[in-house]
């Protein structure tokens, strides 16, 4: 009885609202279209999570840049990203300080090194040296005042909690490792963050970093950071510096972050792998959707044939079928969105960062919609069989 009442209510509501026929037919025959809805939801979810994973990974790579207070970065010409800068003269500080927009300039050391674990094995790590004064441009925000104090001692570093296992370290004070023949004492564990780069990082003072990144010539550094009076001035400043000094690269934080992310995207081929998996998900969704819609169209061929006999033009029926694919895809997307958000949240405790910026969700949604409509065109083939003459045989 309740089911019957609900049915009547749904029919009454849909007739009163004058919904499009395509929506009405999908709504009232949900069971028939559910496979397609689930297929779309699955493919949209898979694609979004894949892309979100990729964005998350790339975000980690550029995190130190985003977290710094610098607006403009100076580096060696053609620098591929953070950590790949060749030595540049510290004297270039004057190039920055001479600019009216610049409020503050700082040195920043960042490079890759081999970390020797207590057990003797080695692994790649990044070494980040920064000014330790409170409010410094390159200072890691997760550093406590005690940690900053401890890091003033040469040969000390802090590590993110999540990266301790990667360096073969335990979460106990005083763990020792070695980089480039120099002893490194871990004096603190950064908690709550997810690391600040794609390789485990040792965060230390400029003095310690200079020793670990040897051979770094005297009076040289890898990056110079500049803070403008107004952030809006950064693009023009960077542009002017680029034009004035061809022997260096001057970039806004955004530009350096983009370079860094592009490098890791191409270098690791993560983009290719995840992109392929996302495309595969979309293809699966498209195939199932098109098959479902094709089946639905074939099942309704006699009805379509009657409408053709009555003179309803073929384009009307084509629009109906495409409309059905639109609503099916929309339903799938509506199902996918909350599930994707939930799964992204569930991944966080496993230190897997899945970022879902609005542009990503919109892009995947649009792509899924386009694929859904495309799969609807496959179902249009069925309409060709809607020949009224067949009803008279």
């Amino acid at each position: 009885m309740n089911k019957l009442l609900l049915e009547h209510l749904l029919i009454w509501k849909s007739t009163r609202l004058k919904l499009p026929y395509a929506l009405v037919t999908v709504w009232r025959r949900q069971l028939r279209y559910l496979p397609a809805v689930f297929a779309v939801a699955f493919s949209a979810m898979l694609s979004t999570l894949q892309c979100g994973l990729l964005v998350g990974i790339l975000n980690i790579a550029a995190r130190p840049i985003h977290r710094s207070k610098a607006h403009v970065w100076l580096a060696s010409p053609g620098v591929r990203g953070l950590g790949f800068g060749r030595p540049i003269p510290l004297a270039w500080k004057s190039r920055l300080l001479s600019q009216p927009e610049v409020q503050r300039v700082e040195e920043y050391l960042c490079g890759f090194a081999q970390f020797q674990r207590p057990d003797g094995s080695t692994d790649q790590c990044s070494v980040v040296g920064m000014q330790l004064e409170a409010g410094s441009l390159g200072l890691l925000a997760d550093l406590t005042p005690q940690m900053r104090q401890s890091l003033t001692r040469p040969g000390t570093a802090v590590v993110y909690e999540s990266e301790l296992p990667l360096l073969g370290l335990r979460d106990t004070p005083g763990e020792i490792g070695e980089v480039a023949g120099h002893r490194v004492e871990i004096v603190g564990t950064l908690r709550g963050g997810d690391g600040a780069g794609l390789t485990p990082g040792l965060y230390c003072s400029l003095r310690t970093a200079r020793a670990l990144l040897a051979p770094l010539p005297e009076r040289q550094t890898t990056y110079l950071l500049a803070q403008c009076h107004d952030r809006e001035q950064a693009p023009l400043l960077a542009q002017r510096l680029e034009a004035s000094y061809p022997d260096m690269d001057a970039m806004t934080s955004g530009e350096l972050a983009w370079r860094t992310q592009c490098y890791w995207l191409i270098k690791t081929r993560a983009g290719l792998v995840l992109g392929f998996a996302a495309a595969l998900g979309l293809i699966v969704g498209a195939v199932v959707t098109s098959q479902t819609l094709y089946g639905a169209s074939v099942a309704s061929l006699p009805e379509y044939a009657v409408l053709r006999a009555l003179g309803i033009p073929r384009w009307r029926l084509q629009r109906l079928v495409l409309g059905q694919s639109f609503w099916v895809t929309l339903a799938g997307l509506a199902l996918a969105l909350p599930l994707t958000v939930i799964l992204a949240h569930l991944a966080r405790p496993m230190n897997i960062e899945v970022l879902l910026p609005p542009w990503l969700v919109a892009a995947v949604g649009s792509l899924t919609l386009a694929v859904g409509l495309l799969s609807g065109t496959a179902a249009l083939h069925a309409l060709r069989q809607a020949d009224p003459a067949t009803l008279l045989r």
Partner: protein, 239 residues
């Protein structure tokens, strides 16, 4: 407008060589508005083919159909589709109602999509048709909630909603018991008479004979018997 439906020397065959089957063999006829013309014959006699050719759905190999003053098979495909849109209604054997649309929506769709009737006017016409055919209380039902007779009435309403001048019905009572079948035939006949439409009914049910104004007996693609006068007419209903 001249409202007859005439056919001249229609020929139609299917297949080729040894599998060639002659469905229509030099068939000519003239049908008049307001009359129920009953097309009868055994299975394979060419009834459905004749209906298909008369209604502009299947082209003849030779011959011509003139309907409402137009040579149907001299028109282009698009023109013929327009002709069907403007002037024809069909009732097929198997209802063929959209399972997901209500009775009201089945009719509205035809008006909105075939005729281009404005929505408010379409609503009004649909309500009038539903009242006429006794379907007002079933307007919001889906086909699965209707009886066989009700479904066929919906199919007829769908055929009539466009106010066609030519009405073609293929075995409209075959899926119904005789009581309901009788109602359907009476409905068709009354509608044709009221609208002055040419009504062609294909059936092998001899119980429909008393309702026919003209009987055409087809066998092996030809009219096998001289046109038999209809049985004494039933009392005409007032238009």
């Amino acid at each position: 407008m001249v409202q007859t439906l005439t056919a001249h020397n229609l020929r139609r065959s299917f297949g080729s060589g040894d599998t060639n089957v002659v469905a229509l063999d030099d068939v000519s006829l003239e049908l008049h508005p307001g009359e129920l013309s009953l097309l009868m014959g055994p299975s394979g006699s060419g009834k459905s083919t004749l209906l298909a050719v008369l209604s502009g759905l299947v082209p003849p190999d030779s011959g011509q159909v003139v309907a409402l003053g137009q040579k149907v098979w001299a028109l282009s495909d698009l023109q013929r589709e327009e002709f069907r849109r403007q002037s024809t209604g069909f009732v097929f054997q198997g209802y063929n109602l959209f399972p997901a649309l209500t009775v009201r929506e089945q009719l509205e769709m035809v008006l909105l999509w075939a005729v281009g009737t404005p929505p408010r006017e379409a609503e009004r016409k649909v309500e009038a048709m539903l009242d006429l055919l006794g379907l007002a209380e079933k307007a919001d039902r889906l086909p699965e909630q209707l009886s066989g007779g009700e479904k066929q009435r919906v199919a007829i309403a769908r055929a009539l909603i466009k106010d066609p001048q030519l009405l073609f019905a293929d075995e409209p009572t075959s899926a119904l018991d005789w009581q309901r079948g009788q109602q359907i035939v009476e409905l068709l006949k009354a509608s044709a008479r009221q609208r002055g439409a040419v009504l062609v009914v294909v059936s092998h049910d001899s119980r429909l004979l008393p309702y026919a104004d003209r009987v055409l007996h087809l066998e092996d693609g030809r009219f096998s018997q001289p046109e038999r006068p209809a049985a004494p007419e039933l009392p005409r209903r007032n238009p």
